[in-house]
């Protein structure tokens, strides 16, 4: 089975550790991962910002580069959801759904002895529909204490360009999310989207919180 890794533009640039962890987890399970270096972006940014023509060109480019692979895996549920829902690309998977749904693996033999809360990002919940895949994986991580996040299914306020075009509203939404994250007493807040973690992490850091954002892939690769 040929599996390609789609880092995403944000992942490749801002979150190399999360992308690397995605590859590590799969390689540890015996899969061979390829990284087509021509890859850039899926087109979601432009689609959401109101530029569908630019988006379609980027998606066409994506499809060309990733043609011929049996599966494409990505650490971003949001990009996967967009490719699948709006551009009809079928064989793309977010890491946790690839593991749990396609490979039927919910224990990756990871060890992460910390208190963790999980923020189910909007697109993982309502577009990509990963269900409880991430929670099943987290429950099997050795030493990990999973704490429920209040108002878990409420948006963190990122929303791509929304975060700067509607910065005041985005920040008010983020403040509520940070309150909820901090109320859990967790050391880490994890999610399936780097961009949401950029927002949550940015908010937590600004208020001097000791809670750190961490992509799920990095927890699964630990130990």
């Amino acid at each position: 089975m040929r599996i390609a890794l789609f880092a995403t533009c944000v992942g490749d640039t801002m979150f190399p550790e999360a992308v690397r962890a995605t590859a590590d987890v799969l390689e540890r399970l015996g899969h061979r991962i390829e990284f087509p270096a021509e890859q850039t972006c899926c087109g979601q940014l432009h689609l959401n910002a109101g530029y569908p023509d630019e988006a379609r060109a980027l998606t066409a480019r994506f499809t060309r580069i990733f043609a011929g692979y049996d599966a494409v895996v990505s650490p971003s549920s949001s990009c996967v959801g967009t490719l699948r829902q709006h551009f009809g690309v079928a064989n793309v998977y977010e890491l946790s759904e690839l593991l749990v749904r396609r490979f039927e693996v919910d224990d990756v033999r990871a060890r992460f002895p910390h208190r963790v809360t999980y923020h189910p990002t909007c697109h993982s919940l309502r577009v990509t529909r990963v269900g409880d895949a991430a929670l099943r994986l987290l429950r099997n991580v050795r030493g990990l204490e999973l704490v429920d996040l209040p108002r878990a299914d409420e948006c963190c306020g990122f929303g791509g360009t929304f975060s700067v075009e509607n910065a005041d509203t985005s920040s008010a939404m983020l403040a509520d999310k940070c309150d909820c994250v901090e109320s859990t007493g967790a050391e880490f807040c994890t999610a399936l989207d780097g961009s949401c973690l950029l927002q949550i992490g940015g908010g937590l850091s600004r208020r001097g919180s000791r809670v750190r954002p961490l992509h799920l892939a990095e927890i699964l690769a630990a130990g």
Partner: protein, 455 residues
């Protein structure tokens, strides 16, 4: 009509901490109730499918259903008026009032007449419209306007209402206890109901087959308005039709659970034409277009006309819960307003509304007629960018698209991004980010560098 820019309006509303606390408390309660009563219905998803299918059929054959409705109303003794826009609808109501020499009408809660600003139009003709819904009365007495489809005064609290009533209709009001507030409104309104010669209503549904109009409500003031005065005028958008009486079965299950979280609303009233010795002797029905046929022309956007005004999408929307309804600059706030208003008034007149969403999708999940609000938002965003002059945003995004179009360009942009980041964070648009949030430093090693080193 131009709608105020959402980011600017939202900033003003966000400054009101009391508003946010009121909204959070009210929407939390109603969300929880909705979730509970919806979960009781084993065939909820099938009901949603049916609701969507019926509305799609109505829109596909609207011309036929409207004529069928007109014939049925006239056969039952009612009069039908066709209104292309708000002014024509308001004129139709004013004509009826003037024809009867009436200077005061009683009104039930109606978004459609809020949309046409009927009260102001009637006032210009020297006719006073008395709002009889408790919340609408509050807003009318205070010169305020609705911020929620179902709970128009959701932004006001009890103490404010007591003070308002003491200043206006009930100088001797005892307290801000809900029973005292309701009693004050009741005493004030009862005389109006009994003396009014014309009642004005909207409609939740109108049955093409029979010419029946259906309204659902909680307070009973609507039934007073539609049964006590000898003349009744009902104003409704042309999309309110359902083909048959039996179709109401679907919507009368979907609507109360989605809107108030009740299994059934306290009052459901229906009337078909006029009946001797029972209810109004004269019935006028005003069918309003006001942009709806324009919405109908858009194959993606037209599903906004499926809306049955339940307000479930408002209550689950994290943007609405923070900004409140006034930020949307229209009588239709929240996610449904963000897709309906730009289509009704033209996207060039409300270009910021389709962007007033983080695309979280909570609205689509609860919509009883499955309006795919996120997809319509994306569709309208594209239309908004086409309809407005190219901005700095367009330049930036075109540049980014170019950079993302090839590997070398992309890799160069990544490098450039890292070098420019310390400066860029002080310039628009990133400055808007860093005002409230830190921005992670772009690491020296991209993933592609890590990968190359590992091979």
């Amino acid at each position: 009509m131009t709608v105020e820019s959402f980011p600017i309006a939202a900033r003003r509303e966000l400054a009101n901490a009391q508003l946010r606390a009121n909204l959070r408390a009210a929407t939390d309660t109603i969300r929880e109730k909705r979730a509970r009563t919806v979960a009781e219905v084993p065939d909820w998803q099938e009901l949603r499918d049916a609701g969507r299918a019926i509305k799609a059929d109505v829109l596909a054959r609207l011309d036929e259903y409207l004529l069928q409705f007109e014939s049925a109303v006239e056969a039952a003794g009612g009069h039908v008026h066709w209104a292309r826009d708000a002014a024509e609808a308001n004129d139709a109501v004013a004509q009826v009032a003037r024809g009867h020499g009436v200077h005061e009408v009683v009104k039930m809660k109606s978004l459609t007449t809020d949309e046409t600003r009927l009260d102001d139009a009637l006032a210009a003709h020297g006719i006073r419209a008395i709002e009889t819904d408790f919340a609408e009365l509050i807003l009318q007495l205070d010169g305020d306007w609705s911020s929620h489809i179902l709970v128009p005064a959701i932004h006001r609290n009890r103490a404010e209402i007591r003070d308002l009533f003491a200043r206006t209709i009930a100088p001797d009001i005892a307290s801000d206890d809900p029973a005292d507030l309701a009693e004050a409104a009741r005493l004030y309104l009862r005389d109006r109901f009994l003396s009014a010669e014309i009642g004005v209503s909207g409609a939740n549904f109108a049955v093409a087959e029979t010419g029946t109009i259906c309204i659902v409500e909680s307070e009973g003031n609507g039934r007073m308005c539609t049964t006590l005065p000898p003349v009744l005028v009902s104003v409704l958008g042309i999309e309110k039709l359902v083909p048959t009486f039996a179709d109401l079965e679907v919507f009368l299950q979907l609507l109360p659970r989605s809107s108030t979280g009740e299994r059934m609303n306290p009052y459901t009233s229906m009337w078909t034409g006029v009946t001797d010795g029972d209810g109004p002797r004269e019935l006028h029905i005003v069918l309003l277009d006001n942009g709806r046929t324009r919405v109908l022309r858009d194959e993606v956007g037209r599903q906004a006309l499926h809306c049955i005004r339940c307000s479930a999408c408002l209550n689950v929307c994290p943007v609405y819960v923070h900004t409140g309804g006034h930020a949307y600059g229209s009588v239709y706030p929240g996610p449904i307003g963000a897709i309906l208003t730009p289509q009704l008034v033209g996207v060039e007149n409300a270009p910021s509304l389709p962007f007033a969403s983080s695309l979280c999708g909570a609205c689509y999940e609860v919509c009883p007629v499955q309006i795919d609000i996120p997809s319509v938002l994306l569709h309208l965003r594209a239309a908004a960018m086409r309809a407005t002059a190219p901005s700095a945003k367009t330049l930036v995004l075109r540049g980014v698209a170019f950079a993302f179009g090839g590997r070398r360009r992309f890799e160069l942009a990544q490098r450039l991004g890292r070098v420019l980041q310390p400066v860029a964070t002080h310039i628009v648009p990133l400055a808007a980010w860093t005002r409230t949030r830190d921005l992670k430093r772009i690491p020296r090693q991209r993933f592609r560098d890590v990968w190359k080193a590992r091979q």
